[in-house]
C-alpha cells in the first residue's frame, strides 16, 4: 500500500509537479517552483539512494550534506535506526511507535483524583506504600517539578525553546522517558539532548507545511505526509531521543546504590554512596590515555602535569554531546556525523580530542587557571568543520585526510620518528620504569635498536637535506630583502607597534623551520643516546639515574610541536582586513584550507607570495584582545625555547624586539631546571650539525 503511494504519486508524476504550480501560483513563479522542486527532488533522492546503497546516506551525513536538508529528522531516524531502510514499511513503523507512545502516556499518568476505579482499597494521600497511587502521584509531581526547572532554562539564547508549547512537550517526553527507564530516570543534561532533536523535527515539519501550502492541489507522497507529521511531534521526538539516550547511557550512568532512591526524588536526604565511579570518568581516562596521548603527547603530558583531569570539563562535553560548546546550528553538523558514524558513538571521543588539539596553543601557554577557563568556556570562534574533519581523520585515517589546517604545526618529521618509536616499543616502556632494566629484554632490544638507529640516520639525512634547501632559500631571501628594502610597506605600516621585531614574516618562518628541524634532530639523537645509556649502565648510581632522568625530561621537553608564526601577525592583519571578513567566513573550510596551504613550508614559491599574506586571515581569528596577545606571547616563548639549544647565534639577532628580560629569565630558568641534561644536549647537537 505504502509502496503504491510512493511509486505512483512521486516517481511517475514529475511533469505534473513541474507545470501545475507555475500556472496556479501568482507570486514569483520561478522561485516557488524551484523551492518546491528542490523539496520534492530531495525526498526522491533520499528514497532512491536508500534503495541503491544505504551507506550513501552515511557518507552524505559525514560530508555535511544534511546542513541544508529539509529531511534531517528522517536522516537521523535512519542513521539511528529508528526507521528501517525499507521505506515501504515506514508508515507502519511510525504508526506503531506513535501507538506505543500513547500507551506509555496512559500508563504513567495516574491521577488519583480521577482514577477511582483502579484504586487500591486502603490507599490514601499519606500512604507510603509503593503501590499507592497517591504516593506515585506525589513522586511524579516532584519529578515533574525537577524536569520543569531544567526545561525552562534550555538554550536561553534560542527563542524557539521559550514557547510554552515546546516546553510542555519537552517536559512530557523527559517525564515519560524517566518513568519508562527507571534505571536511568531523569538526569540533568538530558533535556539538552532532547532540545536539538525537537528543533530539527520542528524545522522539518515547517518545511513540509510550507511545501503543502505551495503545492496545494497536488498529490503528495503519503509516506512523506505520514513520516513527517506535525501532529506527532512529541511521539516522534520521544523515539529519536530515547534512541540517542540508549547510545549515550554510559555518560549518564552511575552504578551506585543510591541511584534508585535518587531517581524517586533527586534531592533525597539519605543515600549518600560514594563507592561508585561514574562510567563516564572511565571513558574519559580511556580517551586521555589511548587517543590524546597518541595524537598529541605534548598536550597530554601538559594536562597531566597541571593535574587537569579530563572529567573536569569532559563530563559536560560528552553528556550534552558538545551542546554547550558550539552554537546550535554548528552542533547539528557534529551530530549528523556522530549519528552517521556508528551505534557505539565512538566519534565523540575523537571530537573531544580534536577540540583539545584545536586550542592546544592556547592551553600549552596557559597556567592552571587560564587552562581551566578555556576548557570550561570553550572558545567560540572555533570552526566546527575543522574539528569534525580532524576527528574523522583520527578515527579513520585511511579514509579521511588530515585537514590541512587542523594543526598549525609540522607533520614532516613525525613519520620516520614514529617508525623508530614503534620499531622499539621496549624503549617506550622503559621510559616509565627507568632503572629497572631486564637483561632478557635488553638483548632483544639491541637488534631493534639497530633498526631504529638506521631509521634515525635516514631521518637525519632527510632533515639535513631539507635544511640545506631552506638555508639556500633563506640566504637568497635575505639578500633579496636587503636589496629591495622589501616591498611590503603596505603590510608593514599595519604592523602593531609591539611587533616591530617581526621584520618579515617569510624570514621568520624559515628561521623557525630551521630551528624546528634542529630541535627534532636533537630530540631524536637524545632519545637514542638515552636508550643506549640505559642499556649499558647496568646499575646506575643515584647521580647517574638523575642525569638519565634529566635527559629524559629534556627529551619530553623537546617534544615541542611548532606553531607557525602566522599566529604572530594575526592581530595586525585582522585590523587591516576587516572589510573582507564576511567574505572570508562564508567559504569557511574550503577557503581556509586553500589559504593555509600557503603556510605549508614545502614549496619554494613561498617567497614570491608576499602579496598573499594578508589573505591568511581566514585562519581562526582571535576573538578578543587577550587571545590576540596570547598568540603573540606564544610566538615569543616558542622562540625563546630554542635559544639554549642553538646557542643563540642566529635567532637572537632576529629577536631584537623581544624584551630582554623575558629571554634571560626564561633561559636561566630552563638551565636551572635541567642542569644535567643541558650541556649534553648542546654538545651532541652542535657536533652533529
Amino acid at each position: 500500500m505504502a509502496r503504491a503511494g510512493l511509486d505512483t504519486t512521486n516517481l511517475e508524476s514529475p511533469g505534473q509537479l513541474l507545470t501545475k504550480p507555475a500556472e496556479e501560483e501568482e507570486g514569483p513563479p520561478v522561485k516557488t517552483l524551484n523551492s518546491m522542486e528542490r523539496y520534492r527532488n530531495e525526498w526522491l533522492n533520499l528514497l532512491t539512494s536508500l534503495q541503491k546503497n544505504s551507506d550513501d546516506i552515511r557518507e552524505f551525513s559525514f560530508d555535511g550534506g544534511l546542513q541544508t536538508s529539509k529531511f534531517r529528522s528522517v536522516y537521523w531516524s535512519l542513521l539511528l535506526r529508528v526507521l528501517s531502510e525499507d521505506s515501504s514499511t515506514w508508515r507502519e513503523q511510525k504508526k506503531q511507535q506513535r501507538q506505543s507512545y500513547d500507551i506509555l502516556r496512559k500508563e504513567f499518568v495516574k491521577n488519583p483524583h480521577e482514577n477511582f476505579k483502579n484504586h487500591i482499597q486502603d490507599d490514601d494521600p499519606l500512604s507510603q506504600s509503593s503501590k499507592s497511587v497517591w504516593n506515585q502521584y506525589f513522586s511524579d509531581q516532584e519529578l515533574f517539578g525537577v524536569i520543569r526547572q531544567d526545561v525552562i532554562r534550555t538554550f536561553p539564547g534560542v527563542d524557539f525553546f521559550r514557547k510554552p508549547a515546546i516546553q510542555n512537550i519537552m517536559s512530557n517526553i523527559l517525564f515519560y522517558y524517566a518513568r519508562d527507564h527507571p534505571y536511568m530516570c531523569y538526569r540533568q543534561g538530558m533535556h539538552e539532548i532532547l532540545a536539538p532533536v525537537l528543533f530539527v523535527l520542528y524545522g522539518d515539519h515547517q518545511s513540509l507545511l510550507h511545501y503543502i501550502e505551495i503545492a496545494n492541489n497536488l498529490d503528495i507522497d503519503k509516506t512523506l505526509l505520514d513520516v513527517i507529521n506535525p501532529s506527532f511531534l512529541e511521539a516522534d521526538a520521544y523515539f529519536l531521543f530515547s534512541r540517542i539516550m540508549s547510545c549515550i547511557e554510559s555518560y549518564y550512568r552511575v552504578c551506585d546504590d543510591s541511584k534508585n532512591s535518587n531517581c524517586e526524588s533527586p534531592n533525597k536526604e539519605n543515600g549518600i554512596a560514594y563507592t561508585s565511579e561514574a562510567e563516564v570518568v572511565g571513558q574519559l581516562n580511556f580517551i586521555r590515555d589511548k587517543i590524546l596521548a597518541k595524537e598529541d603527547l605534548h598536550l597530554h603530558n601538559y594536562l597531566k602535569k597541571l593535574d587537569i583531569p579530563l572529567h573536569l570539563f569532559g563530563i559536560r562535553w560528552l553528556r550534552l554531546l558538545f551542546g554547550r560548546e558550539f552554537a546550535l546550528l554548528d552542533l547539528l553538523i557534529l551530530w549528523d556525523a556522530i549519528f552517521a558514524d556508528s551505534d557505539r558513538f565512538d566519534l565523540p571521543n575523537y571530537i573531544l580530542v580534536a577540540m583539545l588539539i584545536r586550542i592546544r596553543h592556547k592551553l600549552l601557554l596557559s597556567d592552571y587557571t587560564t587552562c581551566l577557563t578555556y576548557l570550561m568556556r570553550y572558545p567560540q570562534n572555533v570552526d566546527v568543520n575543522l574539528i569534525l574533519r580532524h576527528a574523522l581523520h583520527m578515527k579513520m585515517p585511511k579514509k579521511y585526510d588530515r585537514p590541512t589546517n587542523a594543526f598549525i604545526y609540522f607533520t614532516m618529521p613525525s613519520a620516520p620518528r614514529t617508525q623508530y618509536m614503534s620499531s622499539s616499543p621496549k624503549s617506550n616502556a622503559k621510559r616509565d620504569i627507568p632503572s629497572q632494566e631486564d637483561p632478557g629484554r635488553a638483548t632483544c632490544c639491541r637488534s631493534l635498536e639497530a633498526n631504529g638507529i638506521r631509521a634515525m640516520e635516514k631521518e637525519i639525512t632527510l632533515m639535513q637535506t631539507r635544511n640545506a634547501v631552506d638555508d639556500a632559500l633563506l640566504a637568497k631571501f635575505r639578500s633579496a630583502s636587503e636589496e629591495n628594502g622589501w616591498a611590503m610597506d603596505g603590510y608593514k605600516s599595519n604592523v602593531h607597534k609591539t611587533e616591530k621585531y617581526i621584520e618579515n614574516l617569510q624570514l621568520l618562518r624559515l628561521e623557525l623551520k630551521n630551528a624546528q628541524t634542529v630541535v627534532t634532530v636533537a630530540r631524536s639523537k637524545l632519545e637514542v643516546y638515552l636508550h643506549t645509556l640505559r642499556q649499558h649502565v647496568s646499575q646506575p648510581t643515584p647521580p647517574v639515574c638523575e642525569a638519565l632522568d634529566g635527559i629524559e625530561e629534556l627529551c619530553k621537553f623537546l617534544d615541542v610541536t611548532f606553531i607557525f608564526p602566522s599566529l604572530l601577525v594575526s592581530g595586525p592583519i585582522d585590523q587591516a582586513l576587516e572589510a573582507n571578513e564576511q567574505q572570508n567566513f562564508q567559504g569557511k573550510t574550503e577557503l581556509s584550507n586553500k589559504h593555509s596551504r600557503h603556510f605549508m613550508p614545502q614549496s619554494p614559491d613561498l617567497l614570491s607570495t608576499s602579496s598573499e599574506i594578508p589573505r591568511t586571515t581566514t585562519y581562526e581569528r582571535p576573538d578578543n584582545g587577550f587571545m590576540n596577545e596570547s598568540s603573540h606571547i606564544l610566538g615569543n616563548i616558542k622562540e625563546i625555547e630554542l635559544i639554549p639549544i642553538i646557542s643563540g647565534e642566529n635567532l637572537v639577532d632576529q629577536l631584537d624586539g623581544v624584551p630582554g628580560d623575558v629571554i634571560s629569565n626564561k633561559t636561566s630558568v630552563e638551565k636551572g631546571r635541567l642542569p644535567i641534561a643541558n650541556p649534553l644536549c648542546l654538545e651532541s647537537y652542535s657536533k652533529h650539525l
Partner: protein, 215 residues
C-alpha cells in the same frame, strides 16, 4: 607582563554546594562578573571561576568551583571537595526542601574536607521575601549550632554576595595568621605565592594579569 611578580599573594580554593536550582551558579556569576544571569543554564559537572580580592592588603586569588546540584552522589564530586579552603553552602529561602537538605550537605563537607575548611551558609534569593519559606532566625540558629558563618543574600540584586565571599576569605586568612593552616599541605586549599616568582617554567603557573577579567 614579563617580569612582574605574581599579582596575588595567596590562592584560596572555594567550593559552592547546595541543591539543584538554589542559585549556585548565579551567585558565582554575580561575584565574578557583578551581573545577574537570568535563565542561567544549569551546571553539568562543574563550573569554574576566579577573582582576585584583597584582604588585609594582601591580594588573594579565589579559585571557585561551582558544582552541579544533582551531582552530589557522584564520586567525581568528591574530588572537588578535596583541598577546599572555603565552602559556600547555599539553600533557597523560598524552598524549604533545599534547607532541609543542608544537614546532609554539611555531613558531606565535613567528611570530605579538612577540619579547618571555613563553611559559610548562604540563604539565597533574599529578594523574594513574599514567597519565603525559611525564616532568617531558624537558619541563623542552624548556623550557630553547627558553627557556620551565615548570611542571607541575593544573586539577583547582588546583596551580600560579595560579603559572603570576603568574609570567608577573611576567616581563612585569619586561620593562616594564627597558624592553623599548614600552607605546605596540599589539602589546606591555600597556596602561598612569594612576591617573586620562585619557579617559572613552561609548565608552571605564569602570573597572568588577565585572570581577573577573562573568566
Amino acid at each position: 607582563m614579563s617580569s612582574a611578580p605574581y599579582n596575588y599573594n595567596y590562592i584560596f580554593k572555594y567550593i559552592i554546594i547546595g541543591d539543584m536550582g538554589v542559585g549556585k551558579s548565579c551567585i558565582l556569576h554575580q561575584f565574578t562578573e557583578k551581573k545577574f544571569m537570568a535563565n542561567c543554564p544549569h551546571t553539568i559537572g562543574v563550573e569554574f571561576g576566579t577573582r582576585i580580592i584583597e584582604v588585609d592588603d594582601k591580594k588573594i586569588k579565589l579559585q571557585i568551583w561551582d558544582t552541579a546540584g544533582q551531582e552530589r552522589f557522584r564520586a567525581v564530586t568528591r574530588s572537588y571537595y578535596r583541598g577546599a579552603a572555603g565552602a559556600l553552602m547555599v539553600y533557597d529561602i523560598t524552598r524549604r526542601s533545599t534547607y532541609n537538605h543542608l544537614s546532609s550537605w554539611l555531613t558531606d563537607t565535613r567528611n570530605l574536607t579538612n577540619p579547618n575548611t571555613v563553611i559559610f551558609l548562604i540563604g539565597n534569593k533574599s529578594d523574594l521575601e513574599s514567597t519565603r519559606e525559611v525564616t532568617y532566625e531558624e537558619a541563623e540558629e542552624f548556623a550557630k549550632e553547627n558553627g557556620l558563618m551565615f548570611l542571607e543574600a541575593s544573586a539577583m540584586t547582588g546583596q551580600n554576595v560579595e560579603e559572603a565571599f570576603l568574609e570567608t576569605a577573611r576567616r581563612i586568612y585569619q586561620n593562616i595568621q594564627e597558624g592553623r593552616l599548614d600552607l605546605n599541605a596540599s589539602e589546606s586549599g591555600v597556596q602561598h605565592r612569594p612576591s617573586q616568582p620562585g619557579r617559572t617554567s613552561l609548565t608552571n603557573e605564569v602570573p597572568n594579569n588577565k585572570d581577573q577579567c577573562s573568566c
